[in-house]
Every structure is written in C-alpha cells, then in structure tokens.
Symmetry: C2
Subunit: 253 residues, 2 copies
C-alpha cells in the first residue's frame, strides 16, 4: 500500500508541476505526506454536505462529484474530479462550506490529514503557493461552471462540460478523443442543472448532429472543432498558466 501511495502522490505532484515550480526537496515533502486508502462504491456519498472533515481526498481511481443539496434534496454538482486531483484540497485551509463528496463510479482515494498538509505548507512556502494555485485552478473551473448553468441552453451546456472533461482527461492540453466518463444521465443532470429527461433529449440532439456520442457511459468526441465551437468553449481557463508562460511568471518570486 505504502509503495503505491507514493506513486499516487507523485501523480499529484506532477499535476502541481504543470503550474508551479517546486524544488526536489519540496516535492519530497509532498511525497512524504501520510495517507490512508479507502475504497468507495459507485454512488456512495463519502463526505456529507455539512461535515467538517479533517483530511482531504486524493483520487486514485474513479470519478467523484462535489455537490451541494437543497432542503428538498435536489442536488447541484459543483465539480467533477478525476484521478490525480484532490477533491477537497480547499478544506485543508477552510474545512466548512465545502459541500459533500460523492463517488460517481467505483472509486479509490487516499485520505491525507489536513494537519499534515498545513504543516508542510507552513514549512515550504512554495508548496503553499502550489496548493493555493491548485485551489484557484479549481475556482476558475467553478466560475465556468456557473456561467454554464446560468447562461447557456441545455445542449450548449452539455457541449461545454464535455469539452472541459475532454481537456482534463487529455494530455498536454490536447482533448481526449474518447474516455470512460462513467457518469449516469442523472448525475450529468445534477452537474448541468437540468432534468435527467432533458439531458437525455439534449444528448440525442448532440448525437444526431454528429458532435459527441455518450454510449454505455463512454464519451466519444466525433468532431472536436464543432463541439468546442458549439459549446462556446475556450480552454484558456484550464491551460493558460501551463507551459513556458508559467516559468516566466514564477521567476518573479
């Protein structure tokens, strides 16, 4: 277990290195974080909405949704998280008002105590900066999500979400052409603030127009350019601080 934990932490470090510069000592500090693994069933809620948790969750396989809930029980998913991401890193610094976590598929995670995260961040300012920046990346995604839900119609909304996930599942800023999204239409509905019924209809329209297919919870992009255009998708908010630009900016410190 301990062996593979380092591998998973390394994946997280690699993610951070896309946007931040960390010395090998700083990287080692992250790799040395204590973890405890957990396995979750599909559809399991593993952090309750108003829970004050004392650890953050690094996803090692599967997909998890962060959500909030109205009293009526209606859910709004605020983010999807995929392996290599921490679903609730923000809780390390502010463990409330964060929403619940739900495993959408069968999922495995590593729990990392807030205490350890904060100690490491306090000791290595560059680690704090990298984690802080990662949280801000998350916030940028949430802003687009809000735009999506507030201002776009059903098909455009879905198209935008699919574009986002394609880039995030992809490598080097290139969209994945097909990937296991593993999400039911109802879970999709929670994310885009529609009914599962209307998601179904919109999905059909997208399929018939030849842009994307979602079959057996596998998403296949047939025509990236048209999908991105239709979904009003500009990947800048995901990618703009990646690559050479990053180096330049960080040398300022």
């Amino acid at each position: 277990v301990s062996r593979s934990a380092v591998v998973e932490l390394q994946r997280f470090v690699d993610r951070l290195l896309l946007r931040s510069v960390l010395s090998s000592e700083e990287q080692d500090a992250i790799l040395a974080l204590p973890t405890s693994p957990a396995a979750l069933w599909a559809k399991e809620d593993f952090v309750r909405v108003n829970e004050v948790s004392s650890y953050s969750c690094l996803i090692t396989s599967g997909i998890v949704g962060r959500f909030n809930q109205l009293d009526s029980g209606v859910r709004q998913t605020l983010a999807f998280h995929i392996p290599g991401e921490m679903a609730d890193l923000h809780s390390a610094v502010r463990p409330i008002g964060v929403g619940g976590l739900q495993a959408l598929t069968e999922t495995t995670i590593l729990r990392i105590p807030h205490r350890a995260i904060r100690e490491t961040a306090a000791r290595y300012p560059a680690v704090a900066e990298a984690l802080w920046r990662d949280c801000m990346y998350d916030a940028a995604v949430l802003m687009q999500w809000t735009m999506n839900v507030g201002r776009r119609n059903s098909k455009t909304r879905l198209a935008h979400l699919f574009c986002e996930m394609a880039i995030r599942f992809g490598k080097d800023g290139q969209p994945a052409a097909a990937f296991e999204f593993g999400v039911t239409q109802e879970q999709l509905a929670d994310a885009v603030a529609l009914t599962s019924i209307h998601v179904n209809r919109s999905l059909r329209a997208l399929r018939e127009s030849g842009m994307v297919t979602v079959e057996r919870r596998r998403l296949t992009i047939k025509d990236w350019d048209r999908l991105a255009h239709y979904g009003e998708f500009d990947p800048a908010y995901l990618l703009a601080d990646t690559g050479p630009y990053r180096q330049k900016r960080l040398l300022e410190v």
Copy 2:
C-alpha cells in the same frame, strides 16, 4: 493618500483576522504593502475579461462585480465585492481565468502589485495561509452562487442573494437591516441569471409579500426570518469559521 491607505489595509487585515490568526509582525507586513489608488465611475469595466493583470484590487468604497461574458455579450456576475474585500486576490497566484471586474457604483480602489503580495506570502507562511483561506471563503460564496443560479426559482434566488449581502454588509454575523446596495435591476439580473424584466417582477412579488424592499437602490429587509427561510438561506458558509471555533482549529499549526 499614504495615510489613508494604511487605514484601508487595516480594514482588510481586520477581515482576515475574523478567520485567521496573525502576529502583529505579520499584520504589519500586510499594512506595509505598496498601494496605488484609483477612482472608478459607476458602470466602468476596469479589468477586462481576459486580461492578465499584475495587481489585485482592494475596494475602499463602492461595489464591484466580478463577471464573465459569453461571445454574445451576455454577462454572468460571479461575485459582488464590498469595501474591505479584495476583488481578485486569487489573481495574485493565478492571474488568468479570473473574469473581468466592473464597478457597479462609483468606486475607489487600491491596487496592490501581485509581486508584493507573493513576496509577503512567501516570507510569512501565516499570511499565505490567511490569504489562501480568504480565497477559499470566496470560493464558498461562489459555490452557493452556483446553487442559486442552477437550482432555485427567481424569487428564492433573489431572496438568497439579499440574505447573503445582508450578512456581509452586517457586523458580527448579524444581518444589516438596510443598506445601500447601489445595484441596478439589470446588474442584479446579471448576478442571478435572469432578465432585468423578470427581476423587476420578482422584486415586486417579494415587496408585496412584505419580506424586502428595494427602492432607489437601497435595500430594506422587512422580515429577516421569513426572507431567510424563503431564500433557503443558511449563513454557515459565511460564518462557520468565525468566532471561537477558529481559535481551536488554528492552534493545530
């Protein structure tokens, strides 16, 4: 100018102290941040949507909206910011994907260079933590905003927004009974993802039911309990890390 800048920075520090513990040396480091003042007209866009800025804006008077825009020009406001808050602190660490800033009323701000913020944060880990936490507070507000826009009907949406602003304009976790909101119905519409026309109708309904009045851009809460209940408003996401609980948690570090 320099004299009053310290006063304004002190107001920002006071805000941070609600949720974080800072030594007097750390507080002084924040008070010593360089600033340059600016005055803005009502309705002025002073940070463009895709601008990569090199400073953050501390609001000293007025109200500013953070927004994003579709190609069609439709806006979605993602946050309102009031005096004492930094409208784009997150840009200090990730200066893109942040959206534009718009002065909703006549507004004055202090610009603080990112470079200075990051140097101070790197030097004083507790300052970094406090700023990071402030960003996470912001993110928690944004999450509720997303819920609002995604899952509530027009009147409930407005009621929730008004409750949030009342608490934020208030003191010690008590809602302000009345305050200059200074926002036009069209700007409100951008925030709650409705039409200004529908905002108008919903506002009338809220007024007729005796919960709130918005007149001459001044908001008066007639019946807080009913408004909060109707708006499905729970102030925990704003307040839960304030007060004695905070002390306990921070001693861990």
